[in-house]
Protein backbone atom coordinates (compact mmCIF):
# COMPACT_ATOMS: atom_id res chain seq x y z
CA UNK A 1 0.00 0.00 0.00
CA UNK A 2 1.58 3.21 -1.10
CA UNK A 3 0.85 6.34 0.81
CA UNK A 4 1.57 9.88 0.01
CA UNK A 5 1.55 12.62 2.58
CA UNK A 6 -0.08 15.68 1.18
CA UNK A 7 0.15 18.34 3.83
CA UNK A 8 -1.71 16.91 6.79
CA UNK A 9 -3.89 14.70 4.66
CA UNK A 10 -2.73 11.16 3.98
CA UNK A 11 -3.95 9.77 0.69
CA UNK A 12 -4.07 6.01 0.36
CA UNK A 13 -3.65 4.29 -2.98
CA UNK A 14 -4.36 0.76 -4.08
CA UNK A 15 -6.90 0.06 -1.38
CA UNK A 16 -9.87 -1.46 -3.06
CA UNK A 17 -12.97 -1.48 -0.92
CA UNK A 18 -16.23 -3.26 -1.50
CA UNK A 19 -19.64 -2.35 -0.34
CA UNK A 20 -20.56 -4.46 2.63
CA UNK A 21 -23.52 -4.77 4.96
CA UNK A 22 -22.50 -4.80 8.60
CA UNK A 23 -24.93 -5.82 11.27
CA UNK A 24 -24.58 -3.97 14.56
CA UNK A 25 -26.68 -5.33 17.35
CA UNK A 26 -29.14 -6.24 18.74
CA UNK A 27 -26.57 -7.28 21.33
CA UNK A 28 -23.73 -4.91 20.51
CA UNK A 29 -22.59 -3.34 23.78
CA UNK A 30 -22.85 0.21 22.50
CA UNK A 31 -26.35 0.11 21.11
CA UNK A 32 -28.10 0.98 24.38
CA UNK A 33 -30.17 -2.14 24.65
CA UNK A 34 -31.63 -4.20 21.88
CA UNK A 35 -31.22 -1.86 18.94
CA UNK A 36 -30.10 -3.35 15.66
CA UNK A 37 -28.44 -1.17 13.08
CA UNK A 38 -27.68 -2.40 9.60
CA UNK A 39 -24.83 -0.38 8.13
CA UNK A 40 -24.04 -0.22 4.46
CA UNK A 41 -20.30 0.38 4.49
CA UNK A 42 -17.64 1.06 1.96
CA UNK A 43 -14.33 0.62 3.70
CA UNK A 44 -14.56 2.67 6.85
CA UNK A 45 -17.34 4.90 5.64
CA UNK A 46 -21.00 4.27 6.27
CA UNK A 47 -23.28 5.27 3.44
CA UNK A 48 -26.57 4.17 4.94
CA UNK A 49 -27.88 3.20 8.36
CA UNK A 50 -31.11 1.31 8.85
CA UNK A 51 -32.31 0.97 12.43
CA UNK A 52 -34.39 -2.10 13.24
CA UNK A 53 -36.41 -1.83 16.40
CA UNK A 54 -39.10 -3.80 18.15
CA UNK A 55 -37.05 -6.35 20.07
CA UNK A 56 -38.55 -5.10 23.32
CA UNK A 57 -42.07 -4.65 22.02
CA UNK A 58 -44.71 -5.58 24.58
CA UNK A 59 -47.66 -3.73 23.09
CA UNK A 60 -48.28 -1.79 26.28
CA UNK A 61 -50.99 0.14 24.45
CA UNK A 62 -53.06 -3.01 23.96
CA UNK A 63 -52.56 -3.89 27.61
CA UNK A 64 -53.78 -0.42 28.51
CA UNK A 65 -57.08 -1.07 26.76
CA UNK A 66 -57.80 -3.78 29.30
CA UNK A 67 -56.73 -2.06 32.50
CA UNK A 68 -57.90 0.94 34.46
CA UNK A 69 -55.59 3.98 34.36
CA UNK A 70 -54.22 3.25 37.80
CA UNK A 71 -53.44 -0.33 36.89
CA UNK A 72 -51.52 0.87 33.85
CA UNK A 73 -49.06 2.97 35.88
CA UNK A 74 -46.52 0.12 36.28
CA UNK A 75 -46.43 -0.25 32.50
CA UNK A 76 -45.42 3.37 32.11
CA UNK A 77 -42.53 2.71 34.50
CA UNK A 78 -41.25 0.07 32.17
CA UNK A 79 -41.22 2.32 29.12
CA UNK A 80 -38.37 4.63 29.97
CA UNK A 81 -36.99 2.52 32.77
CA UNK A 82 -34.24 5.05 33.49
CA UNK A 83 -36.76 7.76 34.29
CA UNK A 84 -39.74 5.86 35.68
CA UNK A 85 -40.85 8.79 37.81
CA UNK A 86 -41.14 11.07 34.79
CA UNK A 87 -43.17 8.48 32.92
CA UNK A 88 -45.55 8.15 35.88
CA UNK A 89 -45.90 11.90 35.92
CA UNK A 90 -46.82 12.10 32.24
CA UNK A 91 -49.51 9.48 32.58
CA UNK A 92 -50.85 10.89 35.84
CA UNK A 93 -51.24 14.34 34.32
CA UNK A 94 -52.96 12.89 31.27
CA UNK A 95 -55.52 11.04 33.36
CA UNK A 96 -56.06 14.09 35.55
CA UNK A 97 -56.65 16.15 32.44
CA UNK A 98 -59.48 13.86 31.42
CA UNK A 99 -60.92 13.90 34.93
CA UNK A 100 -60.39 17.70 35.25
CA UNK A 101 -58.74 16.97 38.55
CA UNK A 102 -56.87 19.80 40.27
CA UNK A 103 -54.03 19.32 42.68
CA UNK A 104 -52.96 21.15 45.79
CA UNK A 105 -49.80 23.24 45.70
CA UNK A 106 -48.05 20.77 47.91
CA UNK A 107 -48.67 17.91 45.50
CA UNK A 108 -47.38 20.02 42.61
CA UNK A 109 -44.14 20.89 44.38
CA UNK A 110 -43.71 17.29 45.44
CA UNK A 111 -43.98 16.28 41.81
CA UNK A 112 -41.43 18.87 40.74
CA UNK A 113 -38.98 17.55 43.34
CA UNK A 114 -39.44 13.97 42.19
CA UNK A 115 -39.41 14.76 38.47
CA UNK A 116 -36.23 16.84 38.63
CA UNK A 117 -34.48 14.24 40.74
CA UNK A 118 -35.49 11.68 38.14
CA UNK A 119 -34.08 13.91 35.44
CA UNK A 120 -30.73 14.12 37.20
CA UNK A 121 -30.60 10.34 37.63
CA UNK A 122 -31.45 9.80 33.98
CA UNK A 123 -28.93 12.31 32.67
CA UNK A 124 -26.24 10.78 34.86
CA UNK A 125 -26.79 7.42 33.21
CA UNK A 126 -26.89 9.13 29.84
CA UNK A 127 -23.55 10.71 30.57
CA UNK A 128 -21.92 7.57 31.92
CA UNK A 129 -23.22 5.37 29.13
CA UNK A 130 -22.04 7.88 26.57
CA UNK A 131 -18.56 7.59 28.00
CA UNK A 132 -18.83 3.82 27.60
CA UNK A 133 -19.87 4.25 23.97
CA UNK A 134 -16.74 6.26 23.34
CA UNK A 135 -14.51 3.77 25.11
CA UNK A 136 -13.92 5.31 28.51
CA UNK A 137 -15.09 3.38 31.50
CA UNK A 138 -14.48 5.62 34.48
CA UNK A 139 -17.21 8.28 33.97
CA UNK A 140 -19.74 5.46 34.08
CA UNK A 141 -18.60 4.50 37.58
CA UNK A 142 -18.69 8.10 38.76
CA UNK A 143 -22.15 8.56 37.30
CA UNK A 144 -23.51 5.42 38.88
CA UNK A 145 -22.05 6.30 42.26
CA UNK A 146 -24.19 9.44 42.31
CA UNK A 147 -27.22 7.85 40.72
CA UNK A 148 -27.16 5.20 43.42
CA UNK A 149 -27.77 7.93 46.01
CA UNK A 150 -30.78 9.19 44.08
CA UNK A 151 -32.12 5.66 43.93
CA UNK A 152 -31.66 5.44 47.70
CA UNK A 153 -33.72 8.60 48.05
CA UNK A 154 -36.41 7.19 45.78
CA UNK A 155 -36.38 3.92 47.65
CA UNK A 156 -37.08 5.78 50.84
CA UNK A 157 -40.00 7.54 49.21
CA UNK A 158 -41.76 4.60 47.59
CA UNK A 159 -39.85 1.39 48.28
CA UNK A 160 -38.72 0.76 44.72
CA UNK A 161 -35.44 1.56 43.05
CA UNK A 162 -36.26 1.34 39.36
CA UNK A 163 -39.96 0.91 38.68
CA UNK A 164 -41.54 3.28 41.13
CA UNK A 165 -45.25 3.67 40.31
CA UNK A 166 -45.06 6.52 42.80
CA UNK A 167 -46.77 9.43 41.08
CA UNK A 168 -50.34 8.40 40.44
CA UNK A 169 -53.35 10.14 38.96
CA UNK A 170 -54.61 12.27 41.82
CA UNK A 171 -51.30 12.86 43.54
CA UNK A 172 -48.79 10.35 44.81
CA UNK A 173 -48.97 7.09 46.73
CA UNK A 174 -47.38 8.62 49.82
CA UNK A 175 -45.96 11.82 51.19
CA UNK A 176 -42.23 12.39 51.47
CA UNK A 177 -40.99 10.76 54.67
CA UNK A 178 -39.76 12.73 57.67
CA UNK A 179 -36.26 14.09 57.24
CA UNK A 180 -36.17 13.28 53.54
CA UNK A 181 -35.73 16.88 52.44
CA UNK A 182 -32.59 17.21 54.56
CA UNK A 183 -31.17 14.08 53.00
CA UNK A 184 -32.01 15.38 49.55
CA UNK A 185 -30.36 18.71 50.29
CA UNK A 186 -27.28 16.90 51.63
CA UNK A 187 -27.13 14.93 48.40
CA UNK A 188 -27.42 18.04 46.26
CA UNK A 189 -24.61 19.81 48.04
CA UNK A 190 -22.57 16.65 47.57
CA UNK A 191 -23.40 16.44 43.87
CA UNK A 192 -22.77 20.05 43.00
CA UNK A 193 -18.96 20.05 43.36
CA UNK A 194 -18.72 16.65 41.67
CA UNK A 195 -20.13 18.02 38.42
CA UNK A 196 -16.84 19.76 37.70
CA UNK A 197 -15.26 16.28 37.84
CA UNK A 198 -17.65 15.15 35.13
CA UNK A 199 -16.68 18.14 33.04
CA UNK A 200 -13.01 17.29 33.53
CA UNK A 201 -13.61 13.64 32.66
CA UNK A 202 -15.71 14.20 29.56
CA UNK A 203 -16.93 17.66 28.58
CA UNK A 204 -13.50 19.28 28.38
CA UNK A 205 -11.50 16.11 27.76
CA UNK A 206 -9.42 16.51 24.60
CA UNK A 207 -10.16 12.99 23.31
CA UNK A 208 -13.87 13.38 24.04
CA UNK A 209 -13.92 16.68 22.18
CA UNK A 210 -12.20 15.09 19.18
CA UNK A 211 -14.71 12.25 19.15
CA UNK A 212 -17.83 14.36 19.44
CA UNK A 213 -17.29 17.81 17.95
CA UNK A 214 -18.68 18.45 14.48
CA UNK A 215 -19.99 14.87 14.32
CA UNK A 216 -23.61 13.97 13.65
CA UNK A 217 -24.67 17.54 13.05
CA UNK A 218 -28.44 17.91 13.28
CA UNK A 219 -29.79 21.16 11.91
CA UNK A 220 -32.68 22.82 13.76
CA UNK A 221 -34.96 22.45 10.72
CA UNK A 222 -34.29 18.74 10.52
CA UNK A 223 -34.74 18.32 14.26
CA UNK A 224 -38.19 19.89 14.10
CA UNK A 225 -39.10 18.04 10.92
CA UNK A 226 -38.29 14.68 12.53
CA UNK A 227 -40.06 15.52 15.76
CA UNK A 228 -36.92 15.43 17.87
CA UNK A 229 -37.35 16.71 21.38
CA UNK A 230 -35.59 17.28 24.66
CA UNK A 231 -31.81 17.73 24.71
CA UNK A 232 -31.59 16.56 21.09
CA UNK A 233 -33.80 19.45 19.98
CA UNK A 234 -32.21 21.99 22.29
CA UNK A 235 -28.73 20.80 21.34
CA UNK A 236 -29.59 22.00 17.84
CA UNK A 237 -30.39 25.45 19.16
CA UNK A 238 -34.18 25.29 19.19
CA UNK A 239 -35.49 27.19 22.18
CA UNK A 240 -38.28 24.87 23.26
CA UNK A 241 -38.89 23.25 26.59
CA UNK A 242 -42.30 22.03 27.65
CA UNK A 243 -41.66 23.07 31.23
CA UNK A 244 -42.00 26.60 29.91
CA UNK A 245 -43.90 26.16 26.62
CA UNK A 246 -46.10 23.17 27.36
CA UNK A 247 -49.71 22.90 28.33
CA UNK A 248 -51.02 24.91 31.21
CA UNK A 249 -51.69 21.83 33.29
CA UNK A 250 -48.01 21.01 33.11
CA UNK A 251 -46.38 24.45 33.14
CA UNK A 252 -48.57 25.24 36.13
CA UNK A 253 -46.31 22.94 38.15
CA UNK A 254 -43.32 25.13 37.31
CA UNK A 255 -45.20 28.38 37.73
CA UNK A 256 -43.04 30.96 39.49
CA UNK A 257 -39.86 28.93 39.32
CA UNK A 258 -36.79 30.78 38.15
CA UNK A 259 -35.14 28.77 35.42
CA UNK A 260 -33.87 29.45 31.96
CA UNK A 261 -34.24 26.96 29.14
CA UNK A 262 -30.84 25.43 28.40
CA UNK A 263 -30.16 26.30 24.79
CA UNK A 264 -27.59 28.27 22.89
CA UNK A 265 -28.93 31.76 22.17
CA UNK A 266 -26.91 34.39 20.31
CA UNK A 267 -23.87 32.16 20.41
CA UNK A 268 -23.80 31.38 24.10
CA UNK A 269 -25.54 29.31 26.74
CA UNK A 270 -27.22 30.85 29.80
CA UNK A 271 -24.44 32.57 31.69
CA UNK A 272 -25.55 32.21 35.28
CA UNK A 273 -23.21 29.29 36.00
CA UNK A 274 -19.58 28.56 35.79
CA UNK A 275 -19.85 26.35 32.72
CA UNK A 276 -16.86 25.05 30.82
CA UNK A 277 -16.44 26.91 27.52
CA UNK A 278 -17.67 25.54 24.20
CA UNK A 279 -14.71 24.16 22.23
CA UNK A 280 -13.85 25.99 19.03
CA UNK A 281 -14.41 22.87 16.91
CA UNK A 282 -17.97 22.35 18.09
CA UNK A 283 -20.81 23.07 15.69
CA UNK A 284 -24.29 23.72 17.00
CA UNK A 285 -26.28 20.50 16.71
CA UNK A 286 -23.36 18.08 16.95
CA UNK A 287 -22.88 15.29 19.48
CA UNK A 288 -20.94 17.52 21.83
CA UNK A 289 -23.74 20.07 22.09
CA UNK A 290 -26.36 17.40 22.79
CA UNK A 291 -24.17 16.07 25.56
CA UNK A 292 -23.47 19.54 26.89
CA UNK A 293 -27.16 20.43 27.11
CA UNK A 294 -27.69 17.32 29.21
CA UNK A 295 -24.87 18.25 31.54
CA UNK A 296 -26.19 21.77 31.96
CA UNK A 297 -29.65 20.43 32.63
CA UNK A 298 -28.29 18.52 35.60
CA UNK A 299 -27.16 21.83 37.11
CA UNK A 300 -30.43 23.46 36.17
CA UNK A 301 -32.36 20.65 37.85
CA UNK A 302 -30.36 21.13 41.04
CA UNK A 303 -31.46 24.76 41.03
CA UNK A 304 -35.09 23.90 40.42
CA UNK A 305 -34.96 21.21 43.10
CA UNK A 306 -33.75 23.69 45.74
CA UNK A 307 -36.60 26.05 44.87
CA UNK A 308 -39.09 23.20 44.90
CA UNK A 309 -37.97 21.98 48.33
CA UNK A 310 -38.38 25.46 49.77
CA UNK A 311 -41.85 25.77 48.34
CA UNK A 312 -42.84 22.27 49.33
CA UNK A 313 -41.97 22.78 52.97
CA UNK A 314 -44.18 25.87 53.21
CA UNK A 315 -46.97 24.83 50.83
CA UNK A 316 -50.51 24.23 51.95
CA UNK A 317 -52.70 21.25 51.22
CA UNK A 318 -51.65 17.62 51.18
CA UNK A 319 -49.80 15.43 48.73
CA UNK A 320 -53.00 14.22 47.09
CA UNK A 321 -54.72 10.88 47.25
CA UNK A 322 -54.55 8.49 44.31
CA UNK A 323 -57.83 8.24 42.45
CA UNK A 324 -59.86 5.15 43.14
CA UNK A 325 -59.11 2.10 41.08
CA UNK A 326 -62.62 2.07 39.69
CA UNK A 327 -63.02 5.78 39.01
CA UNK A 328 -65.38 6.12 36.08
CA UNK A 329 -63.78 7.90 33.16
CA UNK A 330 -65.88 10.57 31.46
CA UNK A 331 -66.39 10.32 27.72
CA UNK A 332 -63.69 12.19 25.90
CA UNK A 333 -60.13 12.16 24.71
CA UNK A 334 -57.04 13.94 25.92
CA UNK A 335 -53.44 14.18 24.87
CA UNK A 336 -50.74 15.57 27.06
CA UNK A 337 -47.00 15.87 26.67
CA UNK A 338 -44.47 16.41 29.40
CA UNK A 339 -40.79 17.15 29.29
CA UNK A 340 -39.22 13.85 30.27
CA UNK A 341 -35.41 13.65 30.44
CA UNK A 342 -35.22 12.26 26.91
CA UNK A 343 -37.72 14.61 25.39
CA UNK A 344 -41.42 15.10 25.00
CA UNK A 345 -43.28 12.11 26.34
CA UNK A 346 -46.90 12.19 25.30
CA UNK A 347 -49.84 10.14 26.45
CA UNK A 348 -53.18 9.89 24.70
CA UNK A 349 -56.22 8.63 26.52
CA UNK A 350 -59.61 8.02 24.96
CA UNK A 351 -62.61 6.90 26.92
CA UNK A 352 -66.05 6.05 25.57
CA UNK A 353 -67.60 6.87 28.92
CA UNK A 354 -68.79 3.35 29.61
CA UNK A 355 -66.66 2.58 32.64
CA UNK A 356 -63.25 2.81 34.19
CA UNK A 357 -61.34 1.12 31.38
CA UNK A 358 -60.17 3.39 28.56
CA UNK A 359 -61.06 2.63 24.96
CA UNK A 360 -57.60 3.48 23.73
CA UNK A 361 -54.32 4.56 25.24
CA UNK A 362 -51.29 5.64 23.33
CA UNK A 363 -47.78 6.58 24.30
CA UNK A 364 -45.79 8.94 22.14
CA UNK A 365 -42.20 8.16 22.81
CA UNK A 366 -39.49 10.78 22.57
CA UNK A 367 -36.67 8.32 21.88
CA UNK A 368 -38.70 6.85 19.01
CA UNK A 369 -38.67 10.15 17.16
CA UNK A 370 -35.11 10.96 18.22
CA UNK A 371 -33.89 7.66 16.81
CA UNK A 372 -35.76 8.13 13.56
CA UNK A 373 -33.40 10.96 12.65
CA UNK A 374 -30.38 8.67 13.02
CA UNK A 375 -30.27 7.51 9.33
CA UNK A 376 -30.06 11.16 8.32
CA UNK A 377 -27.21 12.21 10.56
CA UNK A 378 -25.23 8.96 10.22
CA UNK A 379 -24.78 9.27 6.47
CA UNK A 380 -21.17 9.33 5.31
CA UNK A 381 -19.49 9.00 8.69
CA UNK A 382 -16.82 6.44 9.69
CA UNK A 383 -18.07 3.33 11.50
CA UNK A 384 -16.42 4.48 14.74
CA UNK A 385 -18.65 7.54 14.80
CA UNK A 386 -21.87 5.52 14.74
CA UNK A 387 -21.75 4.70 18.49
CA UNK A 388 -20.85 8.33 19.15
CA UNK A 389 -23.91 9.57 17.26
CA UNK A 390 -26.39 6.98 18.51
CA UNK A 391 -25.10 7.44 22.06
CA UNK A 392 -25.53 11.18 21.86
CA UNK A 393 -29.24 10.69 21.12
CA UNK A 394 -29.46 8.97 24.53
CA UNK A 395 -32.16 6.47 23.61
CA UNK A 396 -33.84 3.91 25.82
CA UNK A 397 -35.19 0.93 23.96
CA UNK A 398 -37.95 0.21 26.45
CA UNK A 399 -39.50 3.52 25.49
CA UNK A 400 -39.01 3.09 21.76
CA UNK A 401 -40.53 -0.36 21.57
CA UNK A 402 -43.11 0.07 24.34
Amino acid sequence: MATQVDGEKIIEFDVRTDEMLVNMGPQHPSTHGVLRLVLRTDGELVSEVTPHIGYLHRCAEKIGENLTPRQWIPYTDRMDYLAGMNMNLGWALCVEKLLSHTLSDKAKHLRVIIAELGRIASHLVGMGAYGLDLGTFSPFLYAFREREKILDLFEEVCGARLTYSYITPGGATADLPQGWLQKCEAFLSELEPIISDYHALLTTNAIFIKRTCAIGVLTPEMAIDYGCSGPVLRGSGVDYDLRRDGEERYTDMYDGYAFEVIVERDGHYPKDHNYPPVPVDAILGDCWHRFYVRMLEVMQSIDILRQAMDRYSTASGDYGEPIKLTTKLPKGEVYLETEAPRGQMGFYLLSDGSGSIPWRVRARSSSFCNLSVCPEICRGVPIADIPAIVGSLDIVMGEIDR
Partner: protein, 176 residues
Protein backbone atom coordinates in the same frame (compact mmCIF):
# COMPACT_ATOMS: atom_id res chain seq x y z
CA UNK B 1 -55.12 30.98 17.87
CA UNK B 2 -58.54 32.52 17.41
CA UNK B 3 -60.85 29.52 17.30
CA UNK B 4 -63.82 30.51 15.17
CA UNK B 5 -61.86 32.60 12.73
CA UNK B 6 -59.47 29.73 12.20
CA UNK B 7 -62.32 27.37 11.45
CA UNK B 8 -64.24 29.65 9.06
CA UNK B 9 -61.01 30.35 7.26
CA UNK B 10 -60.38 26.64 6.86
CA UNK B 11 -63.94 25.96 5.73
CA UNK B 12 -63.80 28.77 3.21
CA UNK B 13 -60.60 27.41 1.77
CA UNK B 14 -61.34 23.70 1.80
CA UNK B 15 -65.14 23.55 1.73
CA UNK B 16 -66.55 20.12 2.40
CA UNK B 17 -63.13 18.61 2.96
CA UNK B 18 -63.53 19.80 6.55
CA UNK B 19 -66.15 17.33 7.70
CA UNK B 20 -66.47 18.25 11.35
CA UNK B 21 -64.95 20.06 14.26
CA UNK B 22 -65.14 20.65 17.95
CA UNK B 23 -63.09 23.56 19.12
CA UNK B 24 -64.68 23.41 22.56
CA UNK B 25 -63.29 19.98 23.39
CA UNK B 26 -60.48 19.58 25.92
CA UNK B 27 -58.15 19.26 22.94
CA UNK B 28 -59.80 21.15 20.05
CA UNK B 29 -60.06 19.04 16.91
CA UNK B 30 -61.07 19.29 13.29
CA UNK B 31 -62.12 16.38 11.13
CA UNK B 32 -60.91 16.15 7.57
CA UNK B 33 -62.03 13.88 4.76
CA UNK B 34 -59.39 11.32 3.67
CA UNK B 35 -59.10 12.95 0.26
CA UNK B 36 -58.32 16.36 1.70
CA UNK B 37 -55.86 15.32 4.40
CA UNK B 38 -52.57 16.09 2.68
CA UNK B 39 -53.84 19.38 1.32
CA UNK B 40 -55.12 20.54 4.71
CA UNK B 41 -51.97 19.40 6.50
CA UNK B 42 -49.75 21.23 4.06
CA UNK B 43 -51.78 24.37 4.63
CA UNK B 44 -51.60 23.97 8.42
CA UNK B 45 -47.85 23.70 8.21
CA UNK B 46 -47.19 26.49 5.74
CA UNK B 47 -49.74 29.14 6.65
CA UNK B 48 -47.99 32.11 8.22
CA UNK B 49 -50.45 32.37 11.12
CA UNK B 50 -50.63 28.67 11.91
CA UNK B 51 -47.16 27.20 11.28
CA UNK B 52 -47.85 23.74 12.64
CA UNK B 53 -44.29 22.66 12.05
CA UNK B 54 -44.21 19.85 14.61
CA UNK B 55 -46.09 16.58 14.32
CA UNK B 56 -46.31 15.15 17.82
CA UNK B 57 -48.06 11.88 17.30
CA UNK B 58 -50.20 9.77 15.00
CA UNK B 59 -52.71 7.47 16.63
CA UNK B 60 -55.21 5.10 15.11
CA UNK B 61 -58.31 4.23 17.08
CA UNK B 62 -60.40 1.23 16.20
CA UNK B 63 -64.08 1.82 16.84
CA UNK B 64 -65.47 -1.68 16.95
CA UNK B 65 -67.50 -3.13 19.78
CA UNK B 66 -66.99 -6.86 19.64
CA UNK B 67 -69.76 -7.57 22.14
CA UNK B 68 -73.01 -7.57 20.09
CA UNK B 69 -75.09 -6.55 23.14
CA UNK B 70 -73.04 -3.43 23.72
CA UNK B 71 -72.59 -2.74 20.01
CA UNK B 72 -76.22 -1.71 19.63
CA UNK B 73 -75.79 0.99 22.29
CA UNK B 74 -72.55 2.55 21.12
CA UNK B 75 -74.07 5.08 18.74
CA UNK B 76 -71.47 4.66 16.02
CA UNK B 77 -70.87 2.30 13.14
CA UNK B 78 -67.59 0.39 13.21
CA UNK B 79 -64.82 2.51 11.74
CA UNK B 80 -61.22 3.56 12.19
CA UNK B 81 -60.06 6.99 13.16
CA UNK B 82 -56.59 8.37 12.62
CA UNK B 83 -55.68 11.18 14.98
CA UNK B 84 -52.87 13.62 14.25
CA UNK B 85 -51.59 15.78 17.08
CA UNK B 86 -49.90 18.87 15.73
CA UNK B 87 -48.19 21.72 17.47
CA UNK B 88 -46.21 24.75 16.53
CA UNK B 89 -42.83 25.42 18.07
CA UNK B 90 -42.83 29.01 16.90
CA UNK B 91 -46.44 29.92 17.69
CA UNK B 92 -46.83 27.59 20.67
CA UNK B 93 -50.28 26.32 19.89
CA UNK B 94 -51.73 22.89 19.17
CA UNK B 95 -54.49 21.31 17.12
CA UNK B 96 -55.81 17.81 16.58
CA UNK B 97 -56.69 16.60 13.08
CA UNK B 98 -58.86 13.54 12.70
CA UNK B 99 -59.65 11.37 9.72
CA UNK B 100 -62.36 8.72 9.58
CA UNK B 101 -61.69 5.56 7.63
CA UNK B 102 -63.64 2.35 7.02
CA UNK B 103 -62.28 -0.66 8.90
CA UNK B 104 -61.64 -2.48 5.63
CA UNK B 105 -61.28 -1.14 2.14
CA UNK B 106 -64.59 -1.56 0.26
CA UNK B 107 -65.84 -3.50 3.30
CA UNK B 108 -63.90 -6.52 2.17
CA UNK B 109 -62.33 -8.12 5.22
CA UNK B 110 -58.56 -8.35 4.94
CA UNK B 111 -58.23 -5.46 2.51
CA UNK B 112 -56.50 -2.66 4.40
CA UNK B 113 -58.03 0.81 4.25
CA UNK B 114 -55.90 3.38 2.48
CA UNK B 115 -54.93 6.91 3.41
CA UNK B 116 -52.48 9.37 1.90
CA UNK B 117 -49.20 9.62 3.74
CA UNK B 118 -48.16 12.90 5.33
CA UNK B 119 -44.52 11.83 5.55
CA UNK B 120 -43.74 14.34 2.81
CA UNK B 121 -44.91 17.11 5.11
CA UNK B 122 -43.43 16.03 8.43
CA UNK B 123 -40.68 13.41 8.46
CA UNK B 124 -41.90 12.32 11.91
CA UNK B 125 -44.77 10.69 10.08
CA UNK B 126 -42.42 8.19 8.44
CA UNK B 127 -41.97 6.00 11.51
CA UNK B 128 -45.30 6.86 13.06
CA UNK B 129 -47.18 5.75 9.96
CA UNK B 130 -45.17 2.56 9.90
CA UNK B 131 -46.22 1.97 13.48
CA UNK B 132 -49.88 2.62 12.68
CA UNK B 133 -49.64 0.29 9.68
CA UNK B 134 -47.98 -2.33 11.84
CA UNK B 135 -50.35 -2.24 14.79
CA UNK B 136 -53.63 -0.94 13.38
CA UNK B 137 -53.54 -2.00 9.74
CA UNK B 138 -53.84 1.14 7.65
CA UNK B 139 -52.02 1.37 4.35
CA UNK B 140 -50.43 4.76 3.75
CA UNK B 141 -50.21 5.63 0.09
CA UNK B 142 -47.05 7.37 -0.98
CA UNK B 143 -45.09 6.29 2.08
CA UNK B 144 -41.42 5.70 1.18
CA UNK B 145 -40.94 2.51 3.16
CA UNK B 146 -44.11 1.00 4.53
CA UNK B 147 -42.91 -2.03 6.48
CA UNK B 148 -43.76 -3.34 9.91
CA UNK B 149 -41.67 -1.59 12.51
CA UNK B 150 -42.35 -3.04 15.95
CA UNK B 151 -43.64 -6.51 15.12
CA UNK B 152 -41.58 -9.00 13.09
CA UNK B 153 -42.09 -8.69 9.36
CA UNK B 154 -43.89 -12.03 9.11
CA UNK B 155 -46.36 -11.23 11.88
CA UNK B 156 -49.97 -11.93 11.06
CA UNK B 157 -52.73 -9.52 12.02
CA UNK B 158 -52.90 -6.03 13.48
CA UNK B 159 -52.67 -6.13 17.28
CA UNK B 160 -54.40 -2.85 18.08
CA UNK B 161 -57.55 -3.78 16.21
CA UNK B 162 -60.31 -4.67 18.61
CA UNK B 163 -61.04 -8.00 16.93
CA UNK B 164 -57.41 -9.08 16.94
CA UNK B 165 -56.71 -12.54 18.25
CA UNK B 166 -53.36 -13.45 19.66
CA UNK B 167 -51.78 -16.21 17.56
CA UNK B 168 -51.45 -19.56 19.29
CA UNK B 169 -48.00 -20.12 17.93
CA UNK B 170 -45.17 -18.11 16.41
CA UNK B 171 -42.25 -20.10 14.97
CA UNK B 172 -42.74 -22.78 17.58
CA UNK B 173 -43.10 -20.32 20.46
CA UNK B 174 -46.36 -20.90 22.31
CA UNK B 175 -48.50 -17.76 22.45
CA UNK B 176 -50.83 -18.53 25.34
Amino acid sequence: MAGDKFLTNLQKRFGDKITGSNLGAIDPWIEVSPAGLVEVCRFLRDDADLRFDYLNCITAVDYLETDPKKAAKTGWDPHLEVVYHLSSIRKKHTIVVKVKLPRWKDDEEGELPELDSVSGIWSTADWHEREVYDLSGIRFLGHPNLRRILCPEDWVGYPLRKDYEMPLDYHGIRGR
